[in-house]
């Protein structure tokens, strides 16, 4: 197997270790902890007041526009990183290209800003 794939296999081992470790400790805990549920314990905790209505209450998600902006900038990052490693080779040409790219994105951010979507209304 190539070193490249072996590195990813190590990632799998680490994830498995995390799950095994917490599984083991939760298992030990399950063996020695008490289990005496009653009605009050199983109620959602709202600082001592009896909860009204369902826990999954309707709430306004104020930042769905932020999430859209996040996708835009995250994709930008995907393009910037390969460029950053090769900057020495592309020199001035790469600089101008990325300058235009970042400028267009900044324009987008300024537009969103002026439109008022960056406010937590």
């Amino acid at each position: 197997m190539s070193d490249f794939l072996r590195d990813y296999l190590t990632v799998v081992w680490f994830a498995a270790t995390a799950l095994l470790l917490s599984g083991l400790l939760l298992g030990i805990s399950a063996a020695i902890r008490p289990n005496k549920p009653n009605y009050e314990k199983l109620m959602p905790y709202e600082s001592g007041v009896d909860p009204v209505g369902l826990g999954w209450s309707q709430s306004q998600i104020r930042y769905y526009v932020f999430a859209l902006l996040f996708v835009v900038f995250d994709v930008e990052a995907v393009f910037i990183f390969p460029w950053a490693t090769q900057l020495e080779r592309y020199a001035g040409f790469g600089l101008v290209e990325m300058g235009v790219f970042v400028f267009v994105l900044l324009l987008g951010l300024v537009y969103a800003w002026r439109k008022g979507v960056l406010r937590w209304v």
Partner: protein, 349 residues
């Protein structure tokens, strides 16, 4: 491979997994004892734990023993299977993150060509765990906390990603090991006595990165998702017993791992300036650096976590809207300007 021994693959993997356990749990324990128990107490004019062991140093073992015996209470209406999975995802994301950190010339877990990319990608996995923890609890506080956490983590993810681009431009590579080498073999205007740790040239990037780390860890002053006084610990409200402890361990282990990554990117990682011993490339680095390297990394990590905790215990909190405004209107423009400045300077010099 490791310590100049030629081990079969299974033995290497076993060593790496054990090393990973140490690299996650040892910093987490030390951080909790030194900073959370002792430093916070001294800053608040109290002694902190004193009974278990000398100066309360065995307190952690007592705590784990206590949490193991706690009843595991789960709200009746909660989404039980997802509720159980959430803390595991958060802890697993910490282990996935530590995989890329190099601790010495041969003491690494993985040597990805795109290590920085991987680290930044994996660091956002914990958002999933937090969001489903908040959702599955069937509790209004948890739901609000989970939603706030998701909003905050995606907002501060961007400055963190963009702050690292400056380092990648300077090093010309995304491999963590080569970033360490580039810093320690570097020179400042022809003087190589200190190498060239990127904190000197990327101080803007370092500042933005550390602020973003503070927010990603939801430490005060960025603790709106937790907010004890209004949301009763937000997404963790309904967690009790050992499941809560898993969240807790993951929080401080992640603080340690982020500090390790920051010290690799900005403070020169495991290396000492190569000119001290006449090294020029990674092949010439002596074998003893595999032992000294982890110690150097550990001390740098403690220094950076001290910074995080100092800010946590000193500053008043941001309000939710200030927090979002700060990320989008200050940090992101600043880090974009930093990228372009670094690129211009790199091409000019």
């Amino acid at each position: 491979m490791l310590l100049a021994l030629d081990l079969p693959y299974w033995a290497q993997s076993l060593l790496r997994v054990l090393g990973g356990l140490v690299a996650v749990l040892l910093p987490a324990g030390t951080i909790v004892y030194v900073f959370l128990f002792k430093m916070m107490s001294f800053m608040q004019s109290r002694l902190g734990p004193m009974e278990a062991g000398p100066y309360g140093s065995m307190q952690l073992f007592a705590e784990v023993g206590k949490w193991l015996q706690k009843e595991d209470i789960m709200p009746e209406k909660a989404d039980h299977s997802i509720f159980r999975i959430a803390p595991l995802i958060v802890l697993a994301s910490t282990f996935l993150l530590v995989v890329v950190v190099p601790f010495g010339p041969d003491a690494w877990f993985t040597n990805f060509e795109t290590g920085v990319f991987y680290a930044l990608a994996v660091s956002s996995v914990s958002v999933l765990g937090i969001l489903i923890a908040g959702w599955s609890s069937a509790n209004k506080y948890s739901l609000l906390g989970g939603l706030r956490a998701a909003g905050q983590l995606i907002a501060y993810e961007l400055p963190m990603v963009l702050a690292v681009v400056g380092v990648v431009i300077q090093a010309g590579t995304m491999n963590m090991q080569q970033i360490v080498v580039a810093q320690n073999a570097g020179e400042i205007f022809g003087w190589n006595g200190l190498g060239n740790p990127y904190i000197l040239t990327q101080f803007i990037g370092f500042g933005v990165f550390m602020i973003a780390v503070q927010a990603e860890l939801t430490q005060a002053p960025f603790d709106m998702p937790i907010a004890e006084s209004e949301l009763v610990s937000g997404y963790m409200t309904e967690y009790s017993g050992f499941r809560f402890l898993i969240f807790f361990i993951a929080e401080f282990a992640t603080a340690g791992v982020f500090a390790l990554i920051a010290s690799v990117l900005f403070l020169g990682g495991w290396g000492v300036p190569f000119s001290w011993f006449g090294w020029h490339s990674i092949g010439e680095v002596s074998n003893w650096m595999n032992v000294v390297g982890p110690l150097i990394m550990f001390s740098k990590m403690m220094g950076l976590v001290f910074l995080i905790m100092w800010i946590r215990f000193s500053y008043p909190r941001f309000r939710e809207d200030q927090l979002q405004r700060f990320a989008w209107k200050v940090l992101i423009p600043v880090s974009l300007v930093n990228i372009m400045l670094t690129a211009v300077l790199k091409v000019v010099f």
